[in-house]
Structure formats: structure tokens, C-alpha cells
């Protein structure tokens, strides 16, 4: 019993530390990549190549004054960043980052919690994040924040449906809800290590997942809740210091989570060449896949302008939803026919 508690505690600490560091360096990566895409050079001064920039930012945010405007609903105002922040981190509880490893004679599962309904947990938890944004927008007592919050809720509700439907195809094929088993089914011994990845069986599903995931995490070109050219900073206009930092980390943690889940569902998770022979190589593959996903995220941000609100709604309901339904229907039909 004690062993289990100690082992899981260590795993939790390591994973959380890794995720938070990942968030910090995701901001660095974003600034660097977007910078170079726009002929700039990005952060450069804190440490070599500006590598210590995220740490400098964190220190700066911690020492900033925590401003609470007069007209806010104090309790909700304080609670909202936490609601946005925690669910983003919770997602990583079920993302597997390796097979079973034996370390110091103990059998260690390389996943925080091997939930048999892992994917449902992920979708339930990521949807909770919107409450943080909506409550932040409402409790700030500011027009911009409120508009940001309203936009966020409308957007999340619209895209949640297609988001959920986009993965049904994978679940139908795999016949499981556990992320660990999903990864196992995508394993392949042949030299074409990617041959069993679900992206080849579910190309449309993957595309829909990526689009909806971007909308779910409020990223460009779906970043209407914080549209800085219209709403100052949207739902976190009135936030400063660590409260703002929580929204910020939450957003990036959400991005990483969505990338990790996407990699797990469609790109074989931690599976890759030589994972069976080299211990802990699965982590490297997963990180690499998340990295590629993140690059696409940032690339997209630098490429396309923000949607207009009506375009966003039209796209969500008239394009994504029918496509997601079509995908589900066709996949179901093929599964019944025994093609997959």
C-alpha cells in the first residue's frame, strides 16, 4: 500500500513539474517561432538564446502588484483563475507516457491513473475549463471581460459537440475508452511503425479533432474570447499578477493537454520505433509528437487571421457538426461491415 502511495506521489510530482515546465517553454517556443515567422528574432536576452525568458517572466509576474478592482465579485474573481488552471493540469492524469517499466524492482505503470474511461474523463475535465473563463468574465465587472466570457461560453458550447463527435470514430474502431489501451492498439512491430496509427483510419476525425481542439483552447484563429484588437484582453482584462499568470499557464497547459491527447488518439501516443528495447523512450516520442502538434498550433496562429463571430458560429454548426456526424456514421457503418 505504502509503495503505491509513494510511487504515485513521485509520479504526480514529476509529471506536474514536467507539464508546468513544458507550459513555460511553450510560451518561449511560441514567441520564438512566431517571431521568426514574422522576421523577428523573439526573446534573446535572458540567458543564452533567451532560454531563461520564461523564468524571468514567472519572476516578474510573481512580484507584480495583485490588483483587485472595486467592482469585482471578490470570491468568484479569486476562484475563476483556479477553475481555469486546475482542469488543464488534471487532463495529464490519464495521458499515458510509456509502457510498464520496472524501476528499482517495482513495476511502474507510466501513467498517473490508468482510468478505464480515460477519454471520457479528459473530455469532461477540459469542458470544465470554460467555467473559469465565463466566471472571470462575469465577476470582473468590466464590459470587455463580460463580452470575452460570453463569447467563450458560446464558442465552447458550439465546438464541444463536434469535439466530442470527432473522436467517436476512433473509439468505435478501438472499442475502448482507456487511453492506455488506445495506445496499445496503435502499436506496430513492422518497420512502418506508424502503420497502425488511427490517423490513417480516421483522417477526417483527426482533422476535426485538431480544429475543434484549437477552438476549445481559445487559440488563434478562434481566439475571440481574448481578441486583443476588440476586447483589450477579453476575459482576463482585469487580472494581474499571479491570477493572470494562472489563466496564462492554464491556456498553455490546455494546449499541451489537447496536443498530448491528440497524439495519443491519432498518432500512437508514446509508441514509436525501439520503445520496447530502450526504457523511457516512450516519453521522448510523446514529447516529440506534442512538439509537432504545438508547432502546427503556432504556425496556424501566424498564418490565419481571427474569425469573425458569425463566421465562427457558421463554421461550428454548419460545417464541423455535419462533418463530424458524417464521420461517425461512415465509421460506424464500416465497423459494422467489419472493414476496420
Amino acid at each position: 500500500m505504502l509503495e503505491i502511495i509513494v510511487a504515485s506521489t513521485i509520479k504526480v510530482v514529476v509529471v506536474m513539474a514536467a507539464v508546468l515546465t513544458g507550459c513555460a517553454y511553450a510560451t518561449y517556443m511560441e514567441r520564438k517561432v512566431v517571431g521568426h515567422l514574422q522576421h523577428r528574432i523573439g526573446p534573446l536576452y535572458a540567458g543564452p538564446y533567451g532560454l531563461l525568458q520564461p523564468i524571468a517572466d514567472a519572476v516578474k509576474l510573481m512580484f507584480k502588484e495583485d490588483i483587485v478592482p472595486d467592482k469585482v465579485e471578490r470570491a468568484t474573481f479569486a476562484l475563476a483563475p483556479l477553475i481555469a488552471f486546475v482542469p488543464a493540469l488534471l487532463t495529464f492524469a490519464v495521458v499515458p507516457f510509456g509502457g510498464d517499466n520496472t524501476i528499482f524492482g517495482y513495476e511502474i505503470k507510466m501513467v498517473l491513473s490508468d482510468l478505464n474511461i480515460g477519454i471520457l474523463f479528459v473530455f469532461a475535465i477540459t469542458s470544465l475549463g470554460v467555467y473559469g473563463i465565463v466566471l472571470a468574465g462575469w465577476s470582473s465587472g468590466s464590459k470587455y471581460s463580460l463580452l470575452g466570457g460570453i463569447r467563450s461560453s458560446a464558442q465552447m458550447i458550439s465546438y464541444e459537440v463536434s469535439y466530442g463527435l470527432s473522436i467517436i470514430g476512433v473509439l468505435l474502431i478501438a472499442n475502448t475508452l482507456s487511453l492506455r489501451e488506445l495506445v496499445d492498439r496503435q502499436a506496430s512491430d513492422s518497420i512502418w511503425f506508424f502503420s497502425n496509427w488511427y490517423v490513417f483510419k480516421q483522417p477526417l476525425g483527426c482533422l476535426l479533432y485538431v480544429v475543434c481542439a484549437i477552438a476549445e483552447t481559445n487559440r488563434a484563429p478562434f481566439d475571440l474570447p481574448e481578441a486583443e484588437s476588440e476586447l483589450v484582453a477579453g476575459y482576463h482584462t482585469e487580472y494581474s499578477s499571479m491570477r493572470f499568470a494562472m489563466f496564462f499557464i492554464g491556456e498553455y497547459a490546455n494546449m499541451l493537454a489537447v496536443c498530448a491527447v491528440g497524439a495519443t488518439l491519432f498518432f500512437g501516443g508514446w509508441q514509436g520505433p525501439f520503445v520496447d528495447s530502450v526504457p523511457l523512450l516512450g516519453i521522448v516520442w510523446l514529447v516529440l509528437k506534442v512538439f509537432v502538434f504545438m508547432f502546427v498550433y503556432i504556425w496556424l496562429r501566424a498564418t490565419f487571421p481571427r474569425f469573425r463571430y458569425d463566421q465562427l458560429m457558421n463554421f461550428g454548426w454548419k460545417v464541423l457538426l455535419p462533418l463530424a456526424l458524417l464521420n461517425t456514421m461512415v465509421t460506424g457503418l464500416l465497423v459494422v461491415q467489419g472493414v476496420f
Binding site: G35, H36, H39, R40, W299, T303, F304, V319, L323
Partner: protein, 168 residues
């Protein structure tokens, strides 16, 4: 239905074009300069902070004639003349107020002795006004000097106009 077709066709026909465009820009040389560490090469005729030239033996070229001060549209130059032991004029006091100076280069053009030039230095911000009044001592170039960038140009100009070079 139409919107679905349009969106799908855009995704596969038009969006990749956009991605390709931005991806190409990823490998272009950034326009931004890593400024204090790397500096932009200045144009050869850039007009920056002034410096006072010397003859080859180290005596100052400036004879304190006051033509630069007369030519100066911003009234930035102040000077007081004096004489040395050999009875030659020199500037006892020669000050330029960089806060008044508009870096037009008229002083350079007016100087009959080829003594004052506008150099390439442009980083002289400071936190008090007094330090912008630069004295002669700080403007004079170091005496044994390797290369005078203007010397070659002026030698050619003299040759063209047939003016003998006054060497000392």
C-alpha cells in the same frame, strides 16, 4: 451543404497555400537586429557625433576661425580663441551643444581647415543635460591614429582642385 463543400475545398486547396507562405518566411533572415550586440553598419556619409581632426604631428587643425559657429543654423557651437607660444591661433575653448545640434553637417562644410567632421557615433544618450555639451578634449581624435577615413577623400578633392596639402 454548400458551406460544407466550400469549407472542405478551402481546407485542402487554399489553406495549404497560406501555410506554405508562412513556412517559407520561417527561414528568412530576420529584419530585427540583435541591437546592442550587433550593430547596423552605418552609411559612409552618415552624420553622427562630431570629432576634431589633427595634423599628422598631433597639433590641432582647428584655428578657431568661427566659421563653423557662423554656419551653424542651430547655434550649437561656442568657441574662445587663444594663441600658443609660436603665435598660432587655436581654440582655447570649443564646445558643441549636442542638444541644439541638428546634425546638418554645415560646420563640416564651412571648415576651411578640414578640422571638424561628423562621425558615425550615434549612441550618446545620457541622463543629464550637462553631459551633452561636449568639450574640445573629448572631440579631438586620439593622436597616433591608424586610419583617417576622410583623408583619402580629401586628398583626392585637393588634387582635383589643385590645392596644396598643408602638411606638418
Amino acid at each position: 451543404m454548400n458551406e460544407v463543400i466550400k469549407a472542405v475545398s478551402n481546407t485542402f486547396l487554399k489553406m495549404p497555400k497560406g501555410f506554405v507562405v508562412t513556412f517559407k518566411h520561417l527561414f528568412r533572415k530576420p529584419v530585427t537586429l540583435d541591437y546592442p550586440r550587433k550593430k547596423k553598419p552605418m552609411a559612409p556619409r552618415y552624420r553622427g557625433k562630431h570629432y576634431l581632426e589633427r595634423y599628422d604631428d598631433g597639433t590641432e587643425r582647428c584655428v578657431c576661425c568661427g566659421l563653423c559657429a557662423a554656419a551653424c543654423p542651430a547655434d550649437a557651437i561656442y568657441m574662445e580663441p587663444s594663441e600658443n607660444e609660436e603665435g598660432e591661433r587655436y581654440a582655447k575653448l570649443y564646445e558643441i551643444n549636442l542638444l541644439r545640434c541638428i546634425f546638418c553637417g554645415f560646420c563640416e562644410e564651412a571648415c576651411p581647415e578640414e578640422a571638424i567632421f561628423l562621425g558615425h557615433e550615434y549612441e550618446f544618450s545620457d541622463d543629464n543635460r550637462n553631459s551633452f555639451i561636449v568639450a574640445k578634449e573629448t572631440m579631438l581624435v586620439a593622436h597616433p591614429r591608424k586610419e583617417n577615413p576622410f583623408k583619402r577623400v580629401y586628398r583626392r578633392v585637393r588634387k582635383v582642385y589643385g590645392v596644396p596639402d598643408r602638411q606638418r
